[in-house]
Amino acid sequence: MSLKDKLHVIKQRYAGTKMAPAFNALHTFLYTPNEVTHNGTHVKAVDDLKRTMNTVIIALVPCLIFGMYNAGYQHYLAQGAIDKASGFLGASFWTVDNLIIGAWTILPLVVVSYGVGLAVEFLFAVIKGHEVEEGYLVTGMLVPLIVPVDIPLWMLAVAVIFGVVIGKEVFGGTGMNILNPALTIRAFLFFAYPTWMSGDKVWVHGAVERDQMIAAGATNLDAMSGETILGAYAQNKTLAYDYWDMFWGIIPGSVGETSKFLIIIGALFLIFTKIGSWRIIVSTLIGALAMGLIFNAVVDAGIISDTSKFYGLMSVPFWQHLIIGSILFGAVYMATDPVSAAQTNKGKWIYGFLIGFISIMIRVFNPAYPEGVFLAILLMNVFAPTIDHYVVQGNVKQRMKRLKVKTA
C-alpha cells in the first residue's frame, strides 16, 4: 500500500474525531484531497490557497539562499578572514564556507518558525474543529527573512506563538486577520527584545558572542561589527558601501531583505503570476519616492542645517531610499498580503502610497526606529478596511448621483 493510500485509511479512521483536522491537514499538505463535492454548482480554479502560498514561497527562496551566503560572508568579512567581494559575482561571496555557516545559523530559524507556527495552527484547528489552513506557509517563510541572523531561537519561538495567536487566531484564523502575522511577530520581537533587533552588532553572525567574550576578558580578539546603512546614515557617518553593494545586497541587514536585485526578481515573478498586486508595489514605491523628494526639497531650501540630527537621512537622494533598508522587501512581500491589504483597486493605490510615505517619514524622523517599514505597514493594515469603506462609499455616491440625473 502506498503512503497516499495509507493516509486515506488513517484519515477515514479518524474522521469525525477531534484529531481529524490534524490528519486532514497532513494529507492535503502532501497530496490532492480525495474528497469531491457531490451537490451544487461550484467554480473550479487551478490556483487554490495552497498554490498561491507556494508561489510566494518560490519567490522567497532566492532571498533565503542569498541570505545564507550573505550571513556567512558578513561573518567572515567582519572577522577579517576574507576580502570584500566586488559586485554580485564577487569571488569571496559565493563560497561553500559562507553557505555552510549561513545555513548553520539560518536553517534553525526556518525550522523554529515553521515548527512552532504550524504547531500552534494544528492546536487551534483541533480545538476549534476546523481544517488547518495554509496561511502559515508564507508567514513561516517570511519570519526568518525579517529577523537578524543571531536572534536567539527561544525568542523567535515566543514571538511566533504571540504573532500567530494574537495576530491571527483570535480574529478567526487565516483570512480573518487584521494585521500581517509575520510583521506582528517582528513587531513583538522589536518591542520585547530591542537589544537583539537593532544596533550595530546583531546583523553579523557571531558579533554579539564576540562582544561577550571580550567583555569576559578575551584579549586576543577584535570586536566585530556590521552597522546597517540606515544606522550609519542616522548618525551622519560616511558609508563603507557603494550603491551597487546595496543593490546586490552584500551588506549587513536582516536575513532576506538585503538583496534588492533578488527582491525585484521575486516581485516580477509575483506580478507575472498575478499573486502580488502590482498596484500596491508600485504605489508603495511612489509614496517612498514622494516623501524622499519632500525631504530633499527641505534640505535644498536650506530649512535645516547640516548639524541637525535629521540631516544625514534627509539629504539622502530620494531614489536611494529604495535601495537602503527594507522598503522594497516590505512593498513586495508584506504590503501585498491579500488578507490585510486594501481590497479595492483605488484603495490599493492609497494604501500603498501611504505605506511608502510613512515608512520614509519614520525612517528619517525617528532615530529610535531605524527602520519604520514594518510599523508603517502594520499601521496601514489597520486602516485598510477604512480606506476600502470610503472607496466603496464614494463609488456608491457617484452612482447614486448618476441615477438622480437620469430620473430627474
Binding site: P152, W154, F191, Y193, P194
Partner: protein, 214 residues
C-alpha cells in the same frame, strides 16, 4: 448559620467572575493599563479602590433619599473626591515612593468609571449594607484582574515580583538569565497590558459561553 444571605453573597461573588467590572463590563481599563507594570502598584491601587468604593457606596446609599436627582452626579463626585484625597494623603504620608509611582492615577480614581457606575446603578437604590457588599465585591473583582495583570507584567517584564528578583539577576547572569533568558520589554509597555486583559477576557468567555454577546 450563614453571615450573608444567598442574595448578599451573590453581590460579592458575581462581580468577581461572571460580572467582572474589567473583563465583562470593560470599565476602569485606563488604570488597568497604566499602573500594572508593577505588582506592588497594582495591589496598592486595588486597596485604594476597595476603600473608595466600599465607603463611597455606603455614603451615597445613606444619602440616597436626600440627594436631589438633578445634582446627584455632583454630589457623587464630591464624595469620591473626598475619599480619594484621603487615600492620596495617606499614601503620601506612609508610602511616598509608591505614591510617586502611582502619581496622577490615584487622583484619577475619581474618574474611574467603575465607581460612578456602582453609585449610579446600585448605591442610589439600595440600603447601606447591601451597597457596602456591592462596593467591596466590585472593587475586589477589579483588584483581582489588576493584580493578575500586574503579576504577569512584572514577572515577564522585569523578572521580579514585588521588587524581589525571582528569576535571577539579569546583570550578573544568574538564575534563568544564565541560560540566555531575557526580560520581555514589551510587557512593560501599556499595549501589552491591553493584550493581557484581552487574553483574560478570551479565556473567561471561552469557559463560559453565556458571556459571549453577538
Amino acid at each position: 448559620m450563614a453571615i450573608l444571605s444567598k442574595k448578599d453573597t451573590k453581590l460579592i461573588t458575581d462581580p468577581f467572575l461572571d460580572n467582572n467590572p474589567i473583563t465583562i463590563q470593560v470599565l476602569g481599563i485606563c488604570s488597568a493599563l497604566a499602573i500594572t507594570a508593577e505588582l506592588k502598584a497594582s495591589i496598592v491601587m486595588s486597596i485604594s479602590v476597595l476603600f473608595v468604593l466600599g465607603v463611597g457606596n455606603v455614603v451615597i446609599s445613606l444619602m440616597r433619599n436626600i440627594i436631589p436627582s438633578k445634582i446627584r452626579i455632583i454630589v457623587q463626585l464630591v464624595v469620591v473626591a473626598a475619599l480619594v484625597i484621603i487615600v492620596d494623603q495617606v499614601l503620601k504620608a506612609y508610602a511616598y515612593e509608591l505614591s510617586k509611582t502611582l502619581s496622577v492615577f490615584v487622583g484619577l480614581i475619581i474618574t474611574n468609571c467603575i465607581i460612578m457606575g456602582r453609585f449610579e446603578a446600585f448605591a442610589l437604590g439600595n440600603g447601606p449594607w447591601r451597597s457596602f457588599l456591592d462596593g467591596i465585591g466590585n472593587a475586589a473583582g477589579y483588584g483581582f484582574i489588576l493584580i493578575l495583570v500586574g503579576f504577569v507584567r512584572e514577572l515577564f517584564g522585569s523578572g521580579t515580583l514585588l521588587g524581589f528578583p525571582v528569576l535571577g539577576d539579569p546583570i550578573e547572569k544568574s538564575g534563568l538569565y544564565s541560560i540566555g533568558y531575557e526580560n520581555n520589554g514589551f510587557m512593560l509597555l501599556s499595549p501589552m497590558a491591553l493584550i493581557v486583559v484581552g487574553i483574560i477576557i478570551w479565556v473567561q468567555r471561552s469557559r463560559n459561553a453565556s458571556l459571549i454577546e453577538d
